[in-house]
């Protein structure tokens, strides 16, 4: 039983220690990420209604994308599983290879076998002359070039930049820490994210963090008349806790408020404006469109009845975001007054029987025709006040500073070690009056070739040149 368990463990270990498996995970992550960029993800759409947004904006394909869960690729179980596998693989491969590497570098002998030296990709020999003196001079010169030189009789090992060999492990360690930091979001209370859409004056609680945000006014400015290029958009935000205003800030993009380790920042705004209030004039179509008076509607909170002169306007039906469909009839898309449609009953001195009629300010000709337009009265906007909802992003991520950021710094240090430093070793061995010199590096052969020749040529030794790669190498 014990034995079987061990083999199972070994199999897992071997699986994750394999570079092939590691590459497969990396490639799968890349492919998965590509899928996640086809359409914007739900956290990035400029609309509070993903159920409609994908269909409305991208049609059937967009809807399919949303329904397959790809609109939230990066939180999907399969994506997170891949990240987890990468994490495990990084840990196992680093132990599996890092420890033996450390041991073997620590235990390397000074006197290396002659055939091994001769097989080095960089190799040269010096015959005749005073080989002993040459070896001595070589040792001195290499020391000057900051090599650590060890000697045994007739043999030399000069080494520098050993740490570079661990660069890859430092990178992996940094990534392990970074991924830990990302997963620290799973600790209760460490991570909270939300997108809050606020109308003017509206207050909403922030999850269960114990406070609420209020939109005390949203301003939007454009660079151009056509309103295509936003210059700035800003929200006056107030934080309430236990009924008290505890913090306030004029939020702008790139300038956020931190409250109780939670960042509240201006992320976006709903490009589609909503109706706030409107002044409506009632006109009599039977009487040369004579004005019968005006009334004011608050679209977020409409009254049931309005008095207009001698007439009474009663709201029979209110669709804040009306859709008129030949098959499905009239319905509302949402509870937000993007496109209000109101059915009024109007009575007055010369109209005892209520005249029922529609008012849809944004209706196209098609809808107008469908609903009929031979109405007794006409309702015209005299004045309308529109507003945009502000989109505030709430982000609390306690793992960034203590974990993710240091992880990234470590990974960068590892990258510098692995790629901008090299582990260079030079072996020399005196045998039967001949001085054999072999050299090795883990990277950048041209660099070590040049360096070595700068030492060898003044000593009257034949310069080294790289052998072809096909020839055997020793590490």
């Amino acid at each position: 039983m014990n034995n079987r368990k061990k083999t199972f463990f070994d199999a897992i270990w071997e699986f994750f220690a394999s570079v092939k498996v590691g590459i497969t995970i990396i490639v799968l992550l890349a492919i998965g990420s590509i899928l996640g960029t086809i359409y914007p993800q739900t956290n990035a759409i400029p609309s509070p209604n993903p159920d409609f947004y994908y269909n409305d904006t991208y049609g059937k394909l967009g809807d399919l994308y949303y329904r397959m869960g790809l609109a939230d690729t990066f939180n999907s179980w399969w994506y997170l599983t891949l990240v987890l596998m990468l994490f495990i693989s990084l840990i196992i491969v680093s132990i599996d290879r890092g420890v033996p590497l450390y041991k073997s570098l620590k235990r390397q002998p000074v006197a290396r076998k002659l055939i091994a030296i001769q097989a080095d990709r960089l190799y040269t020999k010096a015959e005749g002359g005073d080989a002993e003196a040459k070896l001595e001079a070589l040792a001195q010169q290499l020391k000057k070039r900051r090599y650590k030189v060890r000697r045994e009789d007739g043999a030399l090992l000069a080494e520098k930049g050993r740490l570079a060999r661990f660069g890859a492990y430092v990178i992996h360690l940094g990534l392990i820490i970074t991924i830990l930091g990302v997963f620290s979001r799973l600790i209760p209370g460490w991570y909270y994210t939300d997108m809050i859409w606020l109308k003017e004056g509206e207050t909403k609680p922030v999850g269960n963090l114990g406070f609420s945000v209020q939109n005390n006014g949203f301003t939007l400015e454009f660079y151009d008349q056509a309103q295509t290029r936003a210059k700035k958009f800003e929200t006056d935000a107030v934080i309430y806790e236990n009924g008290q205003a505890t913090a306030k800030k004029h939020l702008a993009v790139n300038d956020y408020l931190t409250y109780k380790h939670t960042n509240i920042y201006q992320n976006s705004y709903d490009p589609q404006p909503m109706f706030k209030t409107g002044t409506i004039e009632l006109l009599d179509t039977r009487n040369n469109n004579k004005s019968l008076g005006t009334f004011v509607i608050d679209f977020n909170n409409p009254q049931r009845e309005y008095k207009v002169g001698d007439y009474t306007v009663t709201m029979a039906n209110y669709f804040p975001d009306v859709k008129v469909d030949p098959d499905k009839g009239v319905f509302t898309n949402s509870r937000d007054p993007y496109n209000p449609g109101i059915q009024f009953d109007i009575t007055g001195p010369d109209q005892m029987e209520p005249a029922r009629q529609w008012m849809i300010p944004l209706a196209g000709p098609f809808v107008k025709q469908m609903l009929g337009k031979d109405y007794r009265f006409d309702l015209q906007f005299k004045d309308v006040d529109l507003f945009h909802m502000t989109g505030l992003k709430i982000e609390r991520d306690l793992g960034w500073w203590p974990i993710v950021f240091p992880g990234l710094v470590i990974a960068l240090c590892g990258l510098v070690l692995a790629f901008y430093f090299q582990h260079r070793r030079v072996w020399a061995r005196l045998e039967e009056g001949v001085l054999h010199i072999g050299a090795n590096t883990n990277k950048h052969w041209i660099g070590i070739t040049g360096e070595l020749n700068k030492v060898l040529v003044p000593l009257g030794i034949e310069p080294v040149s790289q052998k072809r790669k096909e020839e055997p190498q020793q590490s």
Binding site: A30, S33, T37, P40, K60, N254, L415, F419, Q466, K469
Partner: protein, 399 residues
């Protein structure tokens, strides 16, 4: 300032053009006559000097434009693409100083030149910044990332040279076909630039109306927007246009225009390719192969790898770490999976895979050279494709 910037920009452009000519002449000269070997080094030496002049003048162009606009000019497609061309040439200047492979210039100079020309296809005016871009961390992030991309592009050039040296083009192998296709793609990009700039220089403009509104075409509208009436918009060489409309399911209002550009580019590139092919009387990759024959393939393999080894950490720093710091500072969250960010991650994973493939036996040389070549396509998509193809929220979206 803006005019001064344009003058510097033009000087840089013509320097790269001159360098391309010097390098190519230098190489073909070297192979044509044995006694012209000395001359060849003369040509390539001047090529290098001219590239350095180009890099300096482009640096001045960027600086003056920055002074005029009041921000680091890396905020729209024109600025970003020309900055990329700049980093490619800069990376070449530095790497060539160490490795002394003049032939590399014959590949890098035309790449930088075409990318710079491609940049000028985009609108060149300096526009005020949208709120998300008003941050200095952004500049640090974008310039470092571009530098990484420039260095990685060198590995593409060296990888391509490696493949040309090691492939027997007389045999009809898959590699040979792909190489020829790669050469064709270069001419496709060139024809795109030439047709776009040509019609623009001629002042061509045509409004075509479809169901989703009017579209201003700068190329003859062979494909109209959805719902445009066929044959009524314009005439080109006597043919009434448009010939087709973009299908309605494509949704984007400018789908027809984009389709049209692709169609014209394909036609123009095939014409250009056919002409060159007729002059050469053999696959163009064979012509180019002559330039590199005799080069040490191991050296090229190492060079291609080294460029990635140098560029990868810079890219990691600029495109990922600085981007995360910026996002955390500016937005309060270090990562939000927007398409540009995600494609930076994909590019990074791609080169990570490259580095690990190289640890495997049998992957040095040909296979990784192909990966280096394809890496260019990945970077191109990161820089251009994301903006033009993926309808992202990212701040660079359509300049």
């Amino acid at each position: 300032m803006m005019q001064l910037s344009s003058v510097f920009f033009g000087t840089a452009f013509f320097s790269y053009l001159a360098a391309t000519i010097l390098y190519v002449v230098g190489l073909t000269g070297r192979k044509m006559k044995a006694q012209s070997a000395a001359l060849a080094t003369f040509w390539t030496k001047w090529g290098y000097i001219v590239v350095i002049i180009g890099v300096i003048t482009q640096a001045l162009a960027i600086a003056t434009r920055g002074i005029y606009g009041g921000y680091t000019p890396v905020s729209n497609m024109f600025e970003y693409m020309s900055f990329w061309a700049f980093t490619i040439m800069l990376a070449f200047v530095i790497i060539n100083a160490f490795y002394k492979v003049p032939v590399l210039g014959a590949f890098v100079a035309p790449i930088g030149l075409v990318i710079l020309a491609y940049a000028s296809v985009f609108p060149r005016d300096s526009k005020p910044l949208i709120p998300a871009l008003q941050s200095y961390w952004l500049n640090i992030h974008v310039t470092t990332a571009a530098l990484g991309e420039g260095i990685l592009t060198i590995s593409f050039a060296a990888g391509l040279m490696y493949l040309l040296v090691t492939t027997d083009l007389t045999k009809n192998s898959r590699t040979a076909k792909f190489l020829e296709f790669t050469v064709y793609l270069f001419f496709a990009l060139l024809s795109f630039v030439l047709t776009s700039l040509g019609f623009r220089a001629a002042g061509y403009a045509q409004i075509v109306s479809g169901t989703m509104g009017d579209q201003l075409y700068h190329l003859p509208p062979f494909i109209g927007p959805t719902g445009a009436e066929l044959g009524t918009a314009a005439h080109f060489l006597g043919v009434p246009l448009p010939l087709f409309d973009a299908p309605g399911w494509m949704h984007a209002a400018d789908a027809g225009m984009q389709f049209n550009t692709i169609l014209i580019t394909i036609i123009a590139s095939l014409v250009l390719y056919a002409i060159l092919r007729l002059i050469a009387r053999k696959p163009l990759s064979m012509v180019i192969q002559k330039w590199v024959s005799g080069l040490d393939s191991d050296m090229l393999d190492e060079l291609s790898y080294r460029a990635i080894a140098i560029g990868y950490p810079v890219f990691t720093l600029g495109a990922l770490v600085f981007a995360m710091i910026w996002a955390q500072e500016a937005w309060g969250s270090y990562w939000s999976w927007d398409p540009k960010e995600t494609w930076a991650l994909i590019t990074w994973l791609y080169y990570t895979a490259y580095l690990h493939f190289r640890l495997q036996r049998g992957w040095e040389g040909k296979k990784t050279a192909w990966m280096a070549v394809l890496g260019f396509v990945v970077i191109l998509f990161l820089l251009v494709g994301v903006n033009l193809v993926i309808s992202g929220l990212h701040s660079y979206a359509k300049a």
